[in-house]
């Protein structure tokens, strides 16, 4: 799977999303809940804009000094008995983890939710060496049973409603209960408990790695990360190289922005923190610890006009605010990272060939930028992508290129422009009926398939103004 989900075409994916009523209802109601709760939490905190600015500053500083903080983190983890591995590609990361598991002769791996392991297709790599992988996050577990990719970076099974989840449990695990969330969760818990106890290796992602202490922190509502980090003998963290903060102080600010923006909570039920291997005075924790820091295209973003994309704290507020996402769902993006941040990030990590449509999957309404707790100018970065597709990739459609050349001539020549204001009505008259165009030509066709377009006015504003002046101005 990896970053890219499959080979289907963009238009088909969009159409499929639009026609999926179940998914759309589930997504729309989840978005509504998340957005309302976020707003309440923003107000409860007060000075939300100041907090955002602080969040932005912290992320900017950290990413600007990424090499320094990565070194510090790595030193601290080593000091606490951990092994650190920098993986420049997905393959390198997977190979390293495969080796650890093979050396341990491990049979069962239990995981907590992690987007970066989805990005590098870790589960597939582990299955290849015969290890059984169990996802312990409820949403991820549901998707694992259904063999589906996540459609959202915080709530991976957002596209499913309770009834669908009940069906999955019944079909795959013989569940006979109702579709109440409590009962479903209790069932999952009882099923997963066995796995926690018998797993040899635990793998987690990372919300914030704290450079000063070498600590990995995880933000969850289910407490499953506690189990993953406490029970197995060997523990592996996989983190994107930018998931780092200098000290606990910055972590506190960012975690508060994260939980408020992601799920509209002051704080999630659990913040799990662990550092290196179990020390003598600790009662739980691993005897062997590995931190795998994944680059996989991230360092190429450093120093470019897209650097702000690395500030992302994966809260999904931009996704929850996005009207395009609401109507097409996460899978239409065909990337493990959907929504506005996905549209910015996927072409950077996976290239334009696979993701060239995504920067256009936005009306540039700016809802994402407004929602982002660390002020990433998402819609502006989408325009930057478009600029690169036009200027560097030379991949704009020919009709658009010709159209835009014409546009430049038209808009830079008052004479040509004025002539067009006079001619527009006549030019569109074959398609005009009652001052309305219901079935327009060329680019108007797409528009008028579903809505009317007005006919150009009989007299342009400029002609009116000129005649009014001739008559002596204001009457």
């Amino acid at each position: 799977m990896g970053l890219k989900l499959n080979e289907s075409a963009y238009k088909e994916r969009v159409q499929k999303g639009i026609e999926d009523d179940f998914m759309r209802k589930a997504v729309s109601s989840a978005q509504g809940r998340f957005r309302t709760r976020k707003k309440i939490q923003e107000e409860a905190l007060g000075n939300w804009e100041d907090w955002r600015r602080l969040g932005e500053e912290i992320r900017k500083h950290t990413v600007e000094n990424l090499d320094y903080y990565l070194q510090q983190l790595s030193d601290q983890v080593s000091k606490r008995g951990g092994n650190v591995f920098f993986a420049s590609t997905a393959e390198e990361a997977n190979e390293y983890i495969q080796n650890v598991i093979q050396k341990k002769k491990a049979k069962k791996v239990v995981k907590s939710k992690s987007m970066v392991t989805e990005e590098i297709s870790l589960n597939r790599a582990l299955e290849q060496i015969g290890a059984e992988v169990v996802e312990s996050d409820l949403g991820e577990w549901i998707l694992q049973l259904d063999e589906e990719p996540p459609s959202h970076i915080v709530a991976p099974a957002l596209h499913k409603d309770r009834e669908k989840i009940r069906e999955t449990f019944a079909e795959k695990r013989g569940y006979t209960g109702t579709d109440t969330p409590e009962e479903l969760a209790a069932f999952a818990r009882s099923q997963l408990r066995k796995d926690f106890l018998s797993a040899d290796v635990g793998i987690t992602g990372c919300n914030f790695a704290i450079a000063e202490s070498g600590t990995i922190t995880l933000v969850t509502n289910e407490g499953n990360a506690e189990m993953v980090t406490a029970l197995p003998d060997t523990l592996i963290t996989v983190m994107g190289m930018e998931r780092i903060v200098p000290t606990w102080e910055e972590m506190e600010v960012l975690v508060s922005l994260l939980t408020r923006s992601a799920v509209g909570q002051k704080l999630t039920s659990y913040i799990t923190a662990y550092t290196g291997v179990r020390s003598e005075d600790e009662i739980d924790g691993p005897n062997e610890y590995h931190l795998v820091i994944v680059d996989n295209g991230r360092s190429n973003i450093l120093g470019t006009e897209f650097q702000a994309a690395l500030h992302c704290i994966r809260c999904a507020a931009c996704i929850n605010a996005c009207p395009v996402y609401r109507h097409v769902g996460g899978h239409a993006y065909n990337s493990i990272y959907p929504g506005p941040i996905g549209a910015v990030l996927s072409p950077l990590l996976g290239g334009y060939d696979d993701f060239k449509e995504l920067p256009y999957a936005s009306s540039l309404c700016g809802a994402c930028t407004e929602a982002c707790p660390v002020k990433i100018p998402l819609h502006e970065l989408l325009i930057k992508h478009r600029q690169i597709i036009v200027e560097k990739e030379k991949a704009a459609p020919l009709t658009e290129k010709i159209g835009m050349k014409g546009y430049a001539k038209w808009a830079s020549s008052p004479a040509a422009y004025q002539l067009s204001t006079k001619m527009a009505r006549l030019a569109l008259s074959p398609w005009t009926n009652d001052d309305t165009i219901e079935n327009g030509p060329g680019p108007l066709k797409e528009w008028t398939n579903s809505r009317n377009f007005p006919a150009p006015s009989k007299q342009s504003f400029r002609t009116w103004f000129k005649e009014r002046e001739k008559r002596g101005g204001a009457s």
Binding site: A361, S363, I389, A408, S413, Y417, E446, P454, S460
Partner: protein, 239 residues
Amino acid sequence: MRVSIFITCLCDIFSPHVGKHTVEILERFGCEVDFPELQTCCGQPAYNSGFFKESKEAMKQMMRAFKDSEYVVGPSGSCVGMLKEYPNLFKGDPEWEEEARKLADKSYELTQFLVDVLKIVDVGSTFKGKVTYHPSCHMTRLLGVNEAPITLLKHIDGVELIELPVKEDCCGFGGTFAVKNAAISEEMVTEKSQHVTETKAEYLVGGDMGCLFNIGGKMQREGKKVEVVHIAEILNTIG
């Protein structure tokens, strides 16, 4: 006070009446209104499509057109928002940087100009009816104009203002987006149209003709009776 009208190409060609109302309101409040004829389009269609070189041709034309203007006022949050972006786009360009900044500094959207510069909240309109207002995304998020249109509408005695549900959601216009991603755009405008219907308003009011064409075009196609009007028309209903 001397005010130059920035008509926007959409209003110039498709909705000149919006321009007429804009001129009349401004004159009513003592502005001396002119219309620099060299103006064309703000450059947004090309800019948003990633054709920066082409969009800059349009932008330079606009800077030439409004060089001598004292204030520039337009009936569109989106197009005025584009003018405000010029300084970013011409940063480091010795010939145009200064001009870009000057134009951005003196440009205002109509309701913003009335409330913030002329300090008017009651325009003396006699408009009557149930009204709901769609705050277009560029007006609010890019230009930062949130309160001005609401303040003006609230001060009109005959206007019963009904809040549009999830009003901040985009209507799906987005310029070339409505053509390139017509299927998604259609879903967005369908949702917006439903929200307008829920308000039971007689009039849908907005400050950006692009969005109003989109929502109005959809509602017309659906056979809905709601009348779609630009806020300038409401503000200029006298007697």
